[in-house]
């Protein structure tokens, strides 16, 4: 009940916002903030009351929905989903506050779409029925398309449709795989979309789902669907465009949550449901056995080098996201305790850190109206607080020990080294390059002589600091006390590894 409430409160908020008069903009913003704070409170309540000592799903609700196809409204949380739900619920109000001043037109439609987007994301992380999972996955597409297309930058139309088409292309492949899984799950009448049931069936000896060849194909179908979302090279080209054009808050959601939907899907469906398929792509033998780790490696190195070449601040952060998501893929490919723990932690950390980075880029853009890194210089003396927070975010992102980014990446690499020694060693190039582009950016923007144009640049204001502080605290806390998060999903990871080892 608590969980359903959390998912559908934003949807209710959307209806309320739509009923408000168009002129009362302040009211619209406040109502939206209220309706994003409620899920946050509920998420914190879930986070506290979640029983950490068991791997089983909790707060389960299961109601028949479309009986003709045995589709259920089945939701529940385990350690992985509760962590990401918390992240989603946290970024909700932060994004509303970040949009407070810089959305100029159609604030009502903007907020309504944002609330719809939040329902889609929350529902996605809680869904335990494959059909429901897919519906929530797709539900995020439409609001995102409008949020980028209407409120974005100069090339917003191109970016919006590119995002939409890429993701839709991935998800139709997922749909075929999903139907194939459903049809093979049993005799007519006994078929199911229920994820826990499917996981059990897939490891039952002699069941149609427990077949290497079948699992490889459906694995690929789902994988491409999620890979577009993560994004994994070569499906990544929509991401820089979308990020550059999207308004700040939407970039935050994009990097913070939508990318995590891809990796979450990989864990929830590809790994748990098709362990044989996973084994085929991660057993370390031959090309296919190394392919997933190879993709992770490419993401890390390619993303980092691309970031190094950027002169647009936001594009730099966008490419660094591609690099950092590579660590998640590499950790998952290792499929041992360290690797998966590191990957999940990295998902959460990247959500927090990239959200900070995009908010910071937004702060600068709102003042200077451009994002050209070389166009700044010496801002450190004008905006000391801003410089301080940016430095914290940069350090966290480049993996400085003591901050959260380090823990996830280190664990992922540690896990991966066990299986893919060469690829892991080569992947560390990404960390070096990561340090290079962040430090170089720091130097170009904040050090050196102040560009006289920016003599009067105002310091970061209270509202902006309010959006950054909770995220900053999280990076420090998780850096020194990662068990705070790891405890949540330790049992779930152990359980997952048992499933993976059972084949």
């Amino acid at each position: 009940m608590l969980l359903s409430l959390m998912i559908f409160v934003p949807l209710l908020g959307m209806v309320v916002v739509l009923l408000l008069p168009r002129e009362s903009e302040e009211l619209v913003k406040r109502v939206t903030l209220l309706f994003t704070l409620i899920p946050l409170v509920l998420a914190v309540a879930l986070f506290i009351s979640y029983n950490r000592s068991t791997a089983g799903t909790q707060y389960v609700v299961s109601i028949p929905w479309i009986q003709a196809f045995n589709i259920q409204y089945h939701i529940g949380i385990d350690g992985l989903s509760v962590t990401l739900l918390l992240l989603t619920a946290l970024l909700g109000p932060i994004c509303v506050i970040a949009s407070w001043r810089n959305i100029e037109k159609g604030i009502k439609a903007y907020m309504a779409l944002f609330l719809l987007l939040e329902t889609g994301m929350l529902g996605f992380f809680a869904a335990l029925d494959l059909f429901l999972f897919y519906v929530f996955f797709e539900l995020t597409l439409l609001p995102m398309y409008f949020l980028i297309g209407v409120w974005g930058g100069p090339r917003r139309e191109y970016a919006a449709i590119k995002f939409f088409l890429y993701t839709l292309f991935g998800s139709v492949l997922m749909l075929v795989a999903m139907i194939a899984v459903y049809l093979n799950s049993g005799e007519p009448g006994l078929r199911t979309f229920d994820i826990p049931t499917l996981i059990t069936l897939a490891s039952t000896e002699g069941h149609a789902l427990n077949n290497l060849n079948f699992q490889i194909w459906v694995f690929l179908g789902f994988f491409i669907g999620f890979a577009v979302k993560v994004p994994i090279f070569p499906f990544h080209t929509w991401l820089p465009d979308a990020h550059v054009e999207a308004p700040t808050a939407i970039s935050v959601i994009l990097a913070g949550i939508l990318l995590k939907m891809g990796t979450y899907g990989l864990v929830r469906v590809n790994m748990a449901m098709f362990p044989q398929g996973l084994d085929h792509f991660t057993n370390g033998i031959g090309f296919w056995g190394n392919s997933l780790a190879l993709l992770g490696f490419i993401n890390i190195v390619y993303g980092s080098f691309c970031a190094l070449a950027q002169t647009d601040f936001k594009k730099l952060v966008a490419y660094s996201s591609i690099g950092h998501m590579g660590f998640v893929i590499l950790g998952l490919a290792a499929r041992n305790s360290e690797g998966i723990t590191g990957a999940i932690l990295q998902m959460f950390n990247h959500g927090v850190i990239s959200a900070m980075l995009f908010l910071l880029v937004g702060v600068l853009y709102d003042r200077a109206h451009h994002r050209e890194i070389n166009g700044f210089g010496g801002l450190g003396s004008k905006m000391p607080v801003y410089t301080g927070i940016t430095t914290l975010a940069f350090m966290a992102s480049l993996g400085l020990p003591g901050l959260s980014g380090f823990v996830g990446e280190a664990l992922s690499l540690l896990g991966a080294y066990d299986k893919f020694k060469l690829l892991t060693i080569l992947s560390t190039i990404g960390i070096v390059v990561g340090a290079a582009y962040f430090l170089w950016t720091l130097q170009r923007v904040f050090l050196g002589n102040l560009n006289p144009k920016y003599e009067a640049l105002p310091e970061i204001n209270g509202r902006e600091i309010l959006t950054l502080v909770p995220l900053g605290i999280l990076t420090i806390v998780l850096g020194v006390w990662p068990n705070f998060a790891i405890d949540m999903f330790r049992e779930s990871v152990t359980n997952l590894i048992d499933v993976l080892n059972a084949i």
Partner: protein, 494 residues
């Protein structure tokens, strides 16, 4: 149950009889009222449709089992009732659109509504015919009436051109179909679909008839049916006709005519060629799969560069014919259930989209994509309704179009036609692109000059919501999935 005799049948034929009565009454009323009061004619047709609806329900519920009427010419079962209700909804919507459309000449409205009722009669018969002769007659009734309706904008050369093209293509298609029907009759010695099915099975088993002969006959018949549902390669007429015809008629043709075509298609193939021996001997499902894949691909690719929204929706409806045909491949009960479900969904979303086209054409006087610029600020509710229709047409959750497509793809994949599902899904992605162009114009671009906001009446919004609400919610309701199953379970499998 034995077929009823002609006299006994009349009672169960009351919906069709009522249609004839009201069509005549509409013409008579038109002679009496003045041109300025021609709305009365429209209202009389609406009353007529409601009476027919009641008659359909009464005849349906007074029967326990399906019966054959007129010595086996037509059949009254849940399948035909389903289509009759669907067709009545489409006709009623068309009447309401026509009332609001400013394209039509007031002087001619009497004939116009009478013809609408007549075409509905033809479609009723298409949905229930089980005899080759009756199939041909019902198809011709519909075709001849639609030629006139397509050319109804007498002052517009485009409309006349549309009607002329329609006739030319239609005549060829009918002729080809008739030729195919004569083959079948010649081989089986009977016009009854059930008899044909039995005889052909025997003849094929004994080797008296070559499978190729049957395949040729089926292909010829498919020309006639394919022309009605605008499947490749018999689709060429539809973009021109859809563009030239009055918008309400375009909406009507794209929904009702297509639905009736599918009713005929399903009954012909399912009742006539649905048994396993026949399907093994004559590989028509594979042929249908190819036709389906081509139809959706051609429709979608041709829609991509269109600037005229009516023409764009015409190509989109060709593509939808292709999706629907997927359910007809192998004709399993899941596949047919999916077709029926999708037709219901398609009725609401496509008519809704055309209604918006009517509204914009009235206000802007143009059917081009540019006319939609800035609609989000000029008429936000209409713009959002259009988004819902278009996104549903593209098959994106949570709208009904997604659930419809899902059923179709599941049916196809269940039969192992992975490649067809794949083609269909890639087509969905392509289709999104051109639907998004309209959305882009409405939301991302501003109107050229400072224009005033549109003001639409409450009635407009009420009618719009009649289409919006089902488009959002049908997929979530269990009853629609079972409804389709019932219709299929009573199909005449002999």
């Amino acid at each position: 149950m034995q077929p009823l005799s002609n006299i006994e049948s009349l009672l169960y034929f009351s919906p069709e009889i009522l249609l004839v009565i009201f069509a005549t009454a509409v013409i008579l009323l038109d002679l009496v009222v003045k041109d300025s009061e021609s709305v009365a004619v429209a209202y009389l047709s609406l009353v007529g449709l409601i009476c027919v609806f009641a008659a359909v329900l009464i005849t349906h519920f007074s029967l326990r089992n399906p019966v054959s009427l007129f010595l086996g010419m037509i059949r009254l079962d849940e399948f035909s009732t389903f289509f009759k209700i669907l067709l009545l909804l489409a006709t009623a919507a068309t009447v309401l659109f026509s009332l609001r459309s400013e394209e039509l000449d007031a002087r001619l409205k009497g004939e116009y509504y009478a013809l609408l009722l007549a075409i509905t009669l033809g479609m009723f018969l298409m949905a229930s015919s089980t005899n080759l002769l009756m199939i041909f007659i019902s198809l011709e009734t519909v075709s001849l009436t639609s030629y006139i309706l397509a050319g109804f904008l007498t002052h517009s050369p485009r409309s006349s051109e549309a009607a002329f093209k329609y006739i030319t293509y239609g005549a060829v298609a009918s002729g080809t179909m008739l030729f195919g029907l004569s083959f079948l009759f010649g081989m089986a010695g009977s016009g009854d679909l059930g008899q044909i099915s039995m005889r052909l099975t025997e003849l094929l088993a004994s080797g008296e008839v070559a499978p190729l002969a049957v395949l040729i006959a089926i292909t010829f018949v498919l020309a006639g049916v394919g022309y009605k549902i605008a499947s490749v390669p018999f689709h060429m007429w539809s973009p021109d006709v859809y563009e030239g015809a009055p918008i309400p008629i375009t909406a009507f043709l794209s929904v009702a005519s297509k639905s009736a075509g599918f009713a005929l298609f399903i009954r012909f193939f399912y009742a006539g060629f649905g048994n396993t021996e026949l399907m093994q001997a004559v590989d028509w499902p594979f042929m249908l799969a190819i036709v389906s894949a081509l139809t959706m691909t051609v429709g979608n690719l041709a829609a991509l560069p269109q600037q005229n929204v009516k023409r764009l929706l015409a190509y989109s409806s060709i593509a939808h014919g292709g999706y629907l045909l997927m359910g007809g491949v192998l004709l399993t009960s899941e596949g047919i259930g999916a077709i029926l479900f999708y037709l219901v969904v398609y009725l609401f979303m496509n008519l809704g989209a055309f209604y918006v086209v009517v509204l914009i054409a009235n206000e802007v006087g143009s059917e081009m994509v540019e006319g939609y610029r800035g609609l989000s600020s000029r008429a936000p509710l209409v713009a959002w309704a259009m988004v819902i229709f278009l996104v549903s047409l593209a098959g994106i959750p949570p709208f009904a179009g997604f659930f419809g497509k899902w059923l179709l793809f599941a049916a196809v994949i269940e039969q192992g036609y992975y490649w067809l599902a794949f083609v269909g899904l890639l087509n969905s992605v392509v289709s999104l692109y051109y639907y998004a162009r309209i959305v882009k114009a409405m939301f991302f671009e501003d109107a050229d000059e400072e224009t005033t906001d549109f003001s639409f009446s409450t009635g407009t919004f009420a009618l719009l919501s009649v289409f919006v609400i089902p488009t959002i919610f049908i997929g979530f309701l269990n009853i629609f999935y079972t409804f389709s199953n019932i219709s299929v379970s009573v199909m005449p499998m002999q």
